[in-house]
């Protein structure tokens, strides 16, 4: 009896200890996940939530099969098992809420989406380039924005492809059918979205950004702290280039690049647009400090990014080269001063010497890397910044403040 009672008491103790260890493990893992969630951008939503796919915003400046692109996206997402809001419900919602602008959503629309349709997020697609002239070219960007009180960019990615990106031996890799190229581009975007929604690691290699796409010169104030987290509003850019919608296209490129960095929370451009409209702010020659002050307060942003697009050129057919040239400035909320300034200029054949190796065929692909560099260098400090800044001894990196 004594033996049995001692065995049972030992068993009880072991049970209590293991239960305590188990509960501590659960507590620690909960704390770990909570900390990780707090330190990163908004995580992927729960499974089973539905997506509203907005009509494609055509920024290409040409006639393009935007309905086909949207249908293709919906088909691919449905095949992955995601719930998509049906067209009839979406049309009714858009009519009811007089939603005509499909390039972003503001707070009121995001709230209405949540309450009226019950969707968890909205997929916004912008077509940036579409050319059917052989070799075809296409560039598109998609972003997933949450619905509810505070619309947040959950995911953003895109693809810029040309039919002759990988011609291969004897031109066997050439893509001459525009629809085949479109399918490839949509597949790439849908794959990235699928990875995000299924909580799989992103496929893109961060180190793959080429050094030739760094800014030519830049200024960085020491007001910017390298390990801090910033909320950024992207103000409308000024377009001096001959390309229609070049400012909007480059804005999307910057949003995507900054979103990829863990240190920037980019405010949904639809929300920024709504505030600019509400304040009746027009920016014909760049944002003034008083307008910036109003935006800082209303959007609760730490930084405002503004830029001038001087060149954003694509070419049709086989001959020509893509050109991108822009000037960027970042205004800080606390100091009310410019804390970052850079000039970036690249052409598709930069650093190309033999057999077109390393050539970039679309302005999208080039701007994507150029904006990644700007985002990367904004918060690089000390030695890392010097390393990031050196480029054949031509770049400057002066870390001095205003005074």
């Amino acid at each position: 009896m004594d033996n049995r009672s001692s065995v049972s008491s030992i068993n009880g103790k072991i049970g209590r200890v293991s239960a305590a260890i188990f509960s501590v493990c659960i507590l620690l893992s909960a704390v770990f996940w909570a900390a990780e969630g707090a330190g990163s951008n908004a995580g992927p939503p729960e499974q089973g939530f539905s997506i509203a796919v907005l009509p494609v915003e055509n920024l290409s400046g040409t006639k393009a099969p935007v309905k086909d692109i949207r249908a293709l996206l919906i088909r691919r997402l449905k095949a992955q098992g995601f719930q998509i809001l049906d067209d009839e419900s979406l049309e009714k919602f858009m009519l009811r809420n007089r939603l005509r602008y499909t390039g972003g959503i503001n707070k009121a629309v995001a709230q209405a989406f949540k309450t009226e349709t019950g969707v968890g997020s909205v997929l916004i697609t912008s077509l940036e380039l579409y050319s059917e002239v052989n070799p075809p070219k296409i560039a598109l960007t998609c972003r997933l924005v949450s619905t509810g009180e505070n619309p947040v960019i959950l995911w953003m990615d895109g693809a810029g492809l040309a039919g002759d990106d990988s011609p291969g031996i004897l031109g066997l890799g050439l893509i001459e059918d525009p629809m085949a190229l479109l399918e490839k581009a949509v597949g790439r975007v849908e794959g990235s979205l699928g990875r995000y929604l299924n909580r799989k690691p992103a496929g893109e290699n961060v180190q793959s950004v080429k050094r030739k796409f760094k800014p030519e010169t830049f200024y960085r104030s020491d007001v910017l702290v390298s390990n801090a987290r910033y909320s950024v509003a992207v103000a409308p850019f000024l377009n001096f280039s001959g390309r229609r919608n070049a400012a909007e296209i480059l804005e999307l490129q910057f949003i995507r690049s900054l979103k990829k960095s863990d240190q920037f929370d980019v405010i949904e451009p639809g929300v920024v647009r709504q505030q600019l409209l509400a304040l009746r702010i027009i920016i014909p020659e760049g944002i003034s400090l008083s307008d910036a002050g109003a935006l800082f307060t209303l959007l609760n942003a730490d930084l405002i990014l503004t830029a001038n697009v001087v060149q954003y050129e694509d070419y049709t057919g086989s001959f020509g080269k893509a050109k991108v040239d822009f000037f960027t400035q970042l205004i800080d909320r606390k100091s009310r001063s410019v804390v970052w300034s850079s000039v970036s200029h690249n052409e598709g054949d930069d650093g190309v010497f033999f057999f077109d190796r390393g050539r970039v065929n679309t302005a999208y692909a080039m701007a994507s890397q150029m904006t990644r560099w700007v985002g990367k260098m904004m918060l690089a400090q000390g030695k890392r910044a010097e390393e990031a800044g050196e480029q054949g001894g031509e770049n400057k990196m002066i870390e001095k403040g205003k005074q």
Binding site: E216, G286, S341, K396, I398, K402
Partner: protein, 183 residues
């Protein structure tokens, strides 16, 4: 005597016209912030002036010596000061503008040439810019400089090649002007 003549020929051949004016009474160290006005373009390319201005603002900021007010703030100030032609403000307008946007100097510029020049069968890119700095308190010109970069040289004539890219010579010209400002 022959040696003297030879030396005279060599030294006078090196002499050039001065491309910089600096007010000897001006304390340039007191200038902490400046406004760069839109450049006047005499070139065929409409966006060239904006590009050169952007590069100049960026490089001037990168020196760390002076702060350059954002272009949007300059535009707001020019509108409030009722500057008729922002590229060529009068001294009175400069004083008024500087007091609104709180700068110690205003820089204006003229883009005289930008783009391709051709001579016979040879072509090359060229840029020619001149800048002026006006003091905020008096509206007086305290610094002026000009530069020309690119163009057709003997190697282009002999071997062709088309000269250097436009962005490269723009950068060279801007750096030359900034060197002249801080010399």
């Amino acid at each position: 005597m022959a040696l003297f003549c030879l030396a005279f020929v060599f030294f006078t051949a090196c002499a050039g016209t001065r491309e910089v004016y600096r007010d000897p009474n001006m304390d340039f160290g007191a200038i902490r912030s400046v406004a760069v006005m839109p450049f006047l373009s005499l070139a065929r390319d409409n966006i060239a002036a904006e590009r050169v201005r952007d590069v100049f603002i960026n490089d001037l900021l990168a020196t760390g010596a002076v702060y350059v007010v954002p272009v949007g703030e300059v535009a707001r100030g020019a509108a409030r000061a009722e500057v008729v032609t922002p590229a060529t403000p009068s001294p009175e307008e400069v004083i008024k503008l500087a007091s609104i946007i709180k700068v110690q100097a205003v820089i204006t510029g003229v883009l005289k040439e930008y783009g391709e020049v051709r001579s016979g069968t040879t072509s090359a890119n060229i840029i020619s810019v001149s800048l002026q700095m006006m003091e905020a308190q008096t509206g007086k010109i305290v610094w002026s400089a000009s530069t020309t970069k690119g163009g057709i040289n003997i190697w282009d004539r002999l071997f062709g090649g088309g000269g250097q890219p436009m962005d490269k010579i723009t950068q060279d010209a801007v750096r030359d002007l900034i060197n002249k400002l801080f010399k």
